[in-house]
């Protein structure tokens, strides 16, 4: 019996070309809209620096929250496939498909001054609305699903025997997590964190609705691009191009990290 010929797939690529062009079009347009000199000077525009500062501070805090709290959650989610875990995994992913503006309205309804939770918080002076805290909350919500989903998959791929061996050598459960599971999954966790960071940097809708828009306090880069569109087109396009490059670099980093063989995978 002869081996079947390799399946021809190039017609499928031809059919996919229009959508590829559509995906790439805006990115190429953004990166080529301005001469590089203008792009370089836009880096020093005060509005850009303010927004970049807010974006960096909030998104790195969000990232710390996502990784710090999401890793244990993923570790627990990866332990089985029962109805409770599946239900919670569903809830974790839900924000991904929620329109960001809808999420913003939800956050206002949850933390707003006139709500059961927001009222007492406001009385204590802890109301998050219109603060950098609100930006961080919005970013954390949109970034967590990405990270937790990737981390859960990574933990599921771990060789269960390695964990058993660790236990039999006297490791307590927490040590198994810290000393075995996390180090063995570090590439996937780093990839997830990189993507989560990019997502947090790009958050727009929920931030605009929930955190408001104030330069130097809650105006992140995407909000600054949106506001500058109305006054200074060149700076808006400049900021947009830099954001395109930055998020592209993060995505590339995440993909490179994810492509390597997960260190904890059982050898073939």
């Amino acid at each position: 019996m002869t081996r079947p010929k390799r399946l021809e797939r190039w017609p499928a690529l031809v059919l996919g070309l229009p959508i590829l062009a559509l995906l790439i079009g805006p990115i190429v347009a953004l990166l080529t809209a301005l001469p590089w000199t203008t792009l370089a000077t836009s880096l020093t525009a005060p509005a850009f620096l303010d927004a970049a500062g807010v974006s960096l501070a909030t998104s790195s805090t969000s990232l710390a929250l996502v990784v710090g709290l999401g890793t244990p959650l993923a570790w627990w989610l990866a332990a089985g496939d029962g109805p409770l875990r599946r239900g919670l995994a569903f809830l974790v992913e839900w924000p991904v498909v929620l329109p960001p503006a809808v999420l913003g309205v939800g956050l206002l309804q949850c933390f707003g001054r006139t709500t059961p939770l927001g009222g007492p918080l406001d009385a204590l002076g802890l109301s998050p609305a219109f603060t950098a805290g609100a930006v961080i909350i919005a970013q954390t919500i949109v970034a967590t699903p990405l990270y937790v989903t990737i981390a859960t998959v990574a933990f599921r791929k771990l060789d269960p025997e390695l964990l058993l061996v660790a236990q039999s050598l006297g490791h307590r459960p927490a040590q198994c997590f810290w000393r075995v599971a996390v180090p063995l999954s570090r590439r996937a966790l780093a990839a997830g964190a990189t993507l989560a960071w990019a997502r947090a940097l790009g958050e727009f809708g929920a931030t605009l609705v929930f955190a408001g828009n104030l330069r130097g306090r809650t105006q992140t880069l995407p909000l600054a691009v949106y506001e500058r569109l109305e006054s200074d087109l060149d700076i808006a396009i400049g900021m947009a191009a830099w954001m395109t490059l930055a998020t592209g670099a993060l995505l590339l980093g995440g993909r490179t990290l994810a492509r390597g063989r997960p260190d904890g995978a059982p050898p073939r």
Binding site: G112, T114, G212, N213, L229, E230
Partner: protein
């Protein structure tokens, strides 16, 4: 942003009184009521400032009674954004921004009519239920104040008001007030929404945005409010549809509707 279609065929359902949700429902309601494409009725597309969002539906109703065969499409939002779209090539027949400066780029040589001045407005301070201040001097005592972005007409007028207020109440008043600003919004209706949701204590809006019987307000003295005049332009077409709308805006019917919504009479 709101887009609605009026005209022959089943009429779109009027949106309810719910101020925030009603907007978005109107969009979906409009999608389901395209008239049958038998004899294509003349269409008039109107881009209007966010501050006109409540006055526009009754204006459209009244105009429909004069010109029942026409299909009227409206899109309301920040004047600056709408102007930007027009400059970028958006086809629309009528432009009704909240600041006449937005009209500067659309000249008669390019096929636009001369501006028609049809209404006036005034600045006002919308307050939340909880906020109680006696006068403007006390405005910086409130904790959360929201203003328009510098590019939006409401932001431009607000800046002028702040400059005049500074001359009266002192530089410290302005600095204290600006320290209380928690957000800048791209159009006046979003400022209004912050008050309606109870998230802000005060918003500098137009008198026409005040919510009758809902929230307290502080009038801005005439001496401090910059003059706010509304002008509209129309693209010249063979059927003079746009010019007819502009003439309608000056009619007694339209003026009555505008004044019922808090606008001042045409200058």
């Amino acid at each position: 942003m709101r887009r609605a279609v009026h005209g022959p065929g089943p009429k779109p359902r009027r949106r309810g009184r719910c101020p925030i949700i009603g907007r978005s429902i109107a969009f979906f309601a409009a999608a389901g009521c395209q008239p049958t494409p038998s004899a294509e009725p003349p269409t008039l597309e109107i881009l209007a400032a966010a501050s006109l969002v409540d006055a526009l539906p009754p204006l459209l109703d009244a105009f429909e009674r004069i010109a029942p065969d026409w299909r009227l499409q409206t899109d309301t939002g920040g004047s600056h954004r709408l102007g930007h779209q027009l400059r970028a090539g958006r086809r629309a027949d009528v432009f009704m921004p909240a600041h006449p400066a937005e009209l500067a780029d659309f000249r008669e040589a390019d096929g636009w009519s001369a501006p028609v001045w049809y209404a006036q407005n005034q600045l006002s301070i919308a307050l939340s239920q909880a906020a109680s201040i006696a006068d403007l001097a006390a405005l910086p005592q409130l904790e959360r104040i929201v203003l328009g972005t510098p590019g939006a007409p409401i932001g431009v007028y607000t800046e002028r008001f702040l400059r005049r207020g500074q001359a009266v109440y002192g530089e410290g008043w302005r600095r204290a007030l600006e320290r209380r600003v928690v957000s800048r919004e791209g159009n006046v209706r979003r400022l209004r929404a912050r008050i309606l949701m109870g998230e802000a204590d005060a918003a500098i809006v137009y008198r026409s945005d005040l919510i009758a019987g809902h929230a307290p307000a502080l009038p801005v003295p005439e001496a401090l409010s910059p003059p706010i005049h509304y002008a509209a332009i129309a693209r010249r077409r063979p059927d003079h549809a746009g010019e007819r709308w502009l003439a309608f805006l000056k009619s007694a019917t339209a003026q009555r509707i505008l004044q019922r919504h808090g606008f001042g009479a045409a200058p």
